[in-house]
């Protein structure tokens, strides 16, 4: 180390001798090389398409979210008679997120809910969610990835059905509830590519006959920037559902479960983020689209969807570092 300093002194000395000191050199070492700064905008919004991203909104920011999923684009419920699904809406979400701090967000909202009529009849879901950003990837890769925790609780507000085999045959309030616990592991590989892994646990207090209360799933998400304002995003969940329930639903109800896949285009303008997507899942909330997706891309069972978010800065940062 000492020799390095000596070498530097000699170098500086020789610069001096040349009388033309490159002033730039004076700050080469002393200006803090901000390598440990957190990487910004691994994803552009707190959601990819239907799944969460590792991003949170800033302190005192309020995010207004509207999400929409239309009916089947093709297949027997699509085509021109429903104007490629635009006549129908399978699910709608309206919600607000709020930044308690830059790392802790809470949110409330409601979805119409997307009952498929076989393994789920629940609709009118009110949710509360919380998200905590635990780790942030740094520019010098001292921290190579970002880690965010997510959880929600949803309550179905629908009228109870008099059918015990249905998941809407509630016998008490607790039966209306379902929960998501999720870890979001994300990495921005380059300015143009970000990927996320989302190990997820789904708990539904009351499920239809032969369905499972507890379920694990692994989400995979990605974003590829195509221009400074546009990116292609995708999310996919591998759902670990027991073979016996799959067999039961297939044999008894002629009903198949599918893994939800979404592909979309994300457009950002100032405080807005628009997301235009195609998904096979009909539902928007994790509590439904992870355990209950029953339409498939191959039979025209995918739909157009969009989400619009608008960020409001409720309180400006005071120039506190004065």
């Amino acid at each position: 180390m000492k020799t390095l300093i000596l070498v530097l002194i000699v170098c500086l000395g020789s610069f001096r001798l040349m009388a033309q000191v490159d002033l730039k050199e004076l700050f080469k070492d002393s200006v803090a090389n901000k390598g440990n700064l957190p990487v910004l905008e691994t994803f552009k919004s707190p959601r990819l398409i239907s799944s969460q991203s590792n991003e949170t909104i800033h302190k005192h920011d309020l995010l207004f979210v509207v999400m929409h999923r239309f009916g089947d684009l093709a297949g027997k419920n699509g085509g021109t008679k429903t104007f490629f699904g635009l006549d129908n809406s399978t699910d709608i979400l309206i919600g607000f997120d709020y930044g308690i701090s830059d790392n802790l967000n809470i949110g409330i909202g409601r979805t119409k809910g997307a009952p498929n009529g076989v393994n789920t009849d629940q609709s009118q879901l009110y949710y509360f969610k919380a998200k905590y950003r635990l780790l942030r990837q740094t520019a010098d890769q001292g921290m190579p990835f970002s880690l965010t925790l997510f959880g929600n609780a949803a309550v179905s507000g629908m009228e109870k059905r008099d059918l015990v085999t249905s998941d809407a045959g509630f016998s008490d309030f607790g039966d209306r509830m379902s929960f998501i616990t999720q870890t979001i592991l994300a990495r921005k590989f380059s300015d143009n590519l970000s990927l996320a892994l989302l190990p997820t646990y789904v708990r539904r207090n009351y499920v239809s006959f032969m369905d499972k209360n507890n379920m694990f799933a692994l989400g995979i998400g990605g974003r590829v920037k195509v221009s400074r304002w546009m990116a292609v995003v995708a999310d996919y969940f591998i759902v670990f559902r027991d073979q016996d329930t799959k067999d039961y639903f297939l044999q008894q109800k002629d009903f198949r479960f599918y893994n939800p896949l979404g592909v979309g285009l994300e457009i950002e303008t100032g405080g807005h983020v628009f997301n235009l997507s195609f998904t096979n899942s009909t539902a928007i909330l994790e509590n439904q689209f992870i355990p209950s997706t029953s339409s498939t891309w191959t039979k025209g069972g995918f739909r157009w969807g969009f989400s619009i978010t608008r960020n409001f800065t409720l309180f400006n940062k005071s120039n506190s570092n004065e």
Binding site: M1, I5, L8, I9, L12, G13, R16, A19, Q20, V21, L23, K24, L26, F27, D29, S30, V31, A32, K34, L37, V39, L40, E41, I57, H58, K59, D61, D102, A139, D191, R228, W229, E268, T269, G270, G271, N311, T313, N316, K317, N319, N321
Partner: protein, 183 residues
């Protein structure tokens, strides 16, 4: 280690007759006035140096150090406009045109000519400013316009009413003789 090295540099410059004067008290701010909103931002992390023998001046500021009132705006400034992960600093290399004697107290109107590099795009500027010398302490002040398009900072049409085409940049630097102030 860094502090030690800086000290050595400082000591060295003192030995050689203080031909270079350093400053770590550089406040750079900019102001954008557009129909829908006014945006102002400030960085206090700039650095500067003057070589009194050659009249050369140097400024450098990390893009990430600019603070905005709205955090999301700050993020967009770094990510979408200045692309600070690729181009982390803005730099200016120039020369004071007039002969000035910075060892004497007084107020000197100066013209600085040189190259400003923002967003990795270099452009030549001639900026009028003022330098004040009082008891060995030098302060420099300048205000000049920057056309964002000159530095290939693209503003999408949808937010053209939020971001001005020309932003006003203000620089205030203080160069102190006491080396303790420089770290």
């Amino acid at each position: 280690m860094k502090a030690g090295l800086a000290m050595i540099i400082l000591v060295f410059t003192t030995w050689t007759g203080q031909a270079q004067i350093l400053s770590r008290e550089v406040v750079i701010s900019f102001f954008s006035e557009a129909p829908l909103e006014d945006i102002k931002s400030e960085s206090k992390e700039g650095v500067s140096a003057i070589d009194t023998s050659s009249n050369k001046v140097y400024f450098k500021v990390p893009i990430r150090s600019f603070e905005f009132e709205k955090s999301l705006m700050q993020e967009h400034f770094n990510e979408n406009y200045l692309e600070s992960s690729k181009y982390p600093n803005a730099e200016f290399n120039g020369t004071i045109k007039e002969p000035v004697d910075l060892s004497r107290d007084g107020t000197y109107p100066v013209t600085v000519q040189g190259d400003l590099t923002i967003h990795n795009v270099r452009k030549s500027y001639t900026v009028k400013g003022e330098m004040k010398v009082r008891g060995g302490e030098i302060t420099a002040h300048a205000v000049f316009p920057v056309h964002v398009a000159d530095h290939q900072i693209k503003v999408p049409r949808l937010v053209i009413k939020n971001i001005a085409e020309i932003v006003e940049v203000t620089i205030n630097a203080t160069y102190r003789p006491d080396p303790k102030q420089m770290n």
